[in-house]
């Protein structure tokens, strides 16, 4: 063994497409379905009329999202009356908004924090595999997820 490094995520200007990819993978795994723009407008009107509970979560360890995301762009997923919306706030930071008629704000906030964490986890996972392949020619040889939802990966290369 050569060394152990501990790292905290601080995603600087992540590109929107990469975040979309991570968010999509996480939300589908959690049973959510992506909503297209036309359907979204109808659902927003419906949610407004039902006065749903809504919470907003700032994803603190994601710095300003890359300029590829327009201010009006957002990504929406739904499941069982809950809507999760990813967007960029006026400061350019990633924001997760969770709303649902039959759920308390506490429940929605807990879900929002779980989702935000998992998107960061998935983004870090994707970046580590891509970057270590391109920079160090290291291949993914094993991966698993434990009961606490930690992702374990093993990367390998051979000494020249």
């Amino acid at each position: 063994m050569s060394g152990i490094v501990i790292l905290a995520p601080a995603l600087i200007a992540p590109a929107w497409p990469a975040l979309v990819s991570a968010a999509g993978a996480v939300m589908v795994a959690m049973g959510f379905t992506a909503v297209d723009q036309a359907v979204k407008a109808t659902q927003e009107a419906k949610v407004d009329s039902q006065v749903a509970n809504e919470v907003e979560i700032d994803v603190k360890n994601v710095e300003e999202v890359g300029a590829t995301l327009g201010r009006e762009e957002e990504l929406v997923f739904t499941r069982d009356g809950i809507s999760v919306r990813f967007s960029r706030d006026v400061r350019g930071r990633l924001k997760v908004c969770v709303s649902g008629e039959e759920h308390s704000k506490t429940e929605l906030e807990e879900l929002g924090r779980t989702v935000a964490g998992k998107v960061v986890q998935q983004y870090v996972y994707n970046r580590l595999i891509e970057e270590m392949k391109s920079r160090e020619n290291m291949e993914l040889v094993d991966q698993s997820i434990d009961d606490d939802e930690n992702i374990h990966i093993k990367l390998r290369s051979w000494e020249d």
Binding site: G3, V5, I6, A8, P9, Q121, V124, L128, E149
Partner: protein
């Protein structure tokens, strides 16, 4: 000899990288690359292999094969 990195990513995105097979400065270089990819380095703990150095004996060995 294989070079391996075992990585654990928590649901909050924290990363623990167990770097093996990289000697000396190579190990530190890999830790710095991981930090660039993920964000901020919280700690780095070298093991005994970290302090091994690569020594070039200046001997070339040729075989018939």
């Amino acid at each position: 000899m294989p070079r391996e990195i075992k990585i654990e990513i928590t649901p909050e995105g924290m990363v623990r990288g167990d770097i093996a097979g990289f000697k000396g400065k190579e190990c530190r270089r890999i830790a710095e690359i991981l930090a660039k990819i993920v964000g901020d380095e919280v700690s780095f703990e070298p093991s005994s292999e970290y302090f091994q150095t690569e020594v070039d004996l200046g001997i070339d060995i040729e075989t018939d094969r």
